[in-house]
Symmetry: C2
Subunit: 324 residues, 2 copies
């Protein structure tokens, strides 16, 4: 099945959303961030999961939009915390307006996300909101862990996986679960879909870490080695730190806190050389594959005909093979 | 009726709430702000309204707690925006930790407020969450207007009333409405109680403006004239600006942006003198009484025996006569 029809439905739904009018300072930033686009993967996952149980996905459209609004709320607040100047190549909200406006507009977006879920069938409302709230709190926990890890010397790989699970993966898992629950899928199916999404999400984030170092510069869209330059504790870096010889460790540590432009190229080159010596690329690819295989096992366990699951499987594979 | 039994129920309920454990950086600030106390007026209003329809208020306890958690979420985020160093005489969360933590802990509090409402009877859940979400967005709008007004030269009294309605009054109105809705009160009653709360809320905020200038220093707890010193556009100031003679206007304007400690006493004295000449105190008291009378009309219209409403009426009068 072609996902472009679903994507079009999502874009049409998002374009009809009304966030509010007055005061303009509060609502213009919401329209702005929602207009910056993005792949709209989360609402697509909602609809794809919904479609497994009912061809008619109309009643999943507003809930799908809710997930996208929630996701953009987290981006708006994360960008303040990370002092990010750009989002999808455009000024972030706190840069274009200011931090106070970004805090408050984000708060309203979280409320609007809940409101978009209130149209769910009454017999499913409580369950949907419980799952959503649990996920929302977990995403915040993930962001807090991410900030904590920046300040810490030592982070284990297990802790790192826990962080990206909360910060990124659980929302993908929730998206799929939501689509299933809305259409009255069996609980076990909904849970397998959620686990599928979680594992794809972890693999997706590891792929992100990998592309930062080993991506194709022309396709990646961002500077290669950005994570190395900013001393980010990615899966690659944490694995290297665990396995490095004293000499390799010295090389990595000697580059810490050196973020000057003048030595940027050399820093990326030398740290990448250590990665190469340790086979970090292959290890990361292996880890991505492990999570992806785990994801597929959960998808296989979902009790719908195999043919019906082809689109979701294909999308997941595309996410794994993406180069940007 | 004595409200202390209800207050005790509220405090007991609040003390049993569990916000989360890990990461500590996220949850400790929530426990901290909730431990700072406060009058807990909003949950008390929920229970008092609930009691009008059913002596048993047990099922209103968690929803009442939700309103208090929501209120403290707004305080946590407002304090960042207002760069407030103190809250209830203690360090604010962004001062004690940092702004990022205050943003994120606030976000989780908003989620927790929703979660506390999810136990509501299924047939009332959607309505309760719609009312709550509408109110939550309005409170954000009020905060945005408040920030806008700080930057603006001219603010009309009507705009000011609109701002305090959104920022302060609607949550009091919602608290009462919530209590009524939870116990299956007729819609007209719920709406009258909401209007009662709105009008009490406006009167309450105007009383706050009044106490800042004409309060008893020993009882008020804050510095007298704080609003004058910080050039805050209160009801008193806006009324004075509308009615001032050219000479009085000159006096007020000449003090703008002068916030030095050395001239603080003189500034408060001179601006207060203009207020005195214009009879601003009496006019504000008159306005407070107008809103309070309007509130009482709505309370009178609530279709329960008059005796049952005595406690709510008494509480409202105490709020009006408070000196701190």
């Amino acid at each position: 099945m072609d996902t472009s029809i679903l994507s079009e439905k999502i874009n049409r739904t998002l374009s009809t959303l009304r966030y509010g009018e007055s005061p303009t300072e509060l609502y213009e930033p919401i329209r702005y961030i929602m207009s910056l686009g993005g792949k709209r993967i989360r609402p697509l996952l909602v609809l794809l999961a919904a479609k497994l149980y009912d061809e008619d996905v109309e009643k999943a459209l507003l809930p799908a939009a809710a997930v996208e609004v929630f996701h953009n709320f987290t981006l708006m607040h994360d960008d303040i915390m990370d002092k990010a100047p750009l989002r999808r190549g455009q000024q972030t909200v706190h840069e274009k307006w200011n931090s106070n406006i970004a805090i408050l507009a984000g708060d309203v977006m979280l409320v609007r996300a809940y409101q978009l879920l209130l149209g769910v069938a009454p017999d499913k409302l409580q369950k949907v909101l419980e799952l959503f709230s649990k996920t929302a709190a977990e995403v915040c926990e993930g962001q807090q862990l991410d900030m904590n890890f920046e300040q810490r010397e030592q982070v284990s790989i297990q802790e790192y996986i826990q962080m990206i699970t909360l910060k990124t993966a659980v929302l993908l898992g929730f998206s799929l679960e939501l689509g299933a629950v809305l259409q009255g899928a069996p609980d076990t199916d909904a849970e397998h879909l959620q686990q599928f999404g979680n594992n794809v999400g972890i693999a997706f984030q590891l792929r992100d870490d990998l592309l930062d170092v080993y991506g194709d510069k022309d396709k990646f869209g961002k500077q290669i080695g950005g994570d190395i330059l900013s001393d980010k504790k990615t899966f690659l870096m944490l694995t290297a730190l665990e396995q490095a010889s004293p000499k390799q460790l010295e090389t990595i540590v000697s580059w810490r806190n050196k973020t000057e432009d003048a030595t940027a190229e050399e820093k990326v080159k030398e740290v990448t050389a250590v990665y190469d010596q340790l086979g970090i690329r292959q290890q990361t690819e292996q880890e991505i594959d492990n999570y992806f295989q785990k994801a597929l096992q959960h998808l296989d366990a979902v009790q719908v005909p195999k043919e019906a699951k082809v689109t979701i499987r294909t999308l997941a594979m595309q996410l794994m093979e993406r180069e940007a």
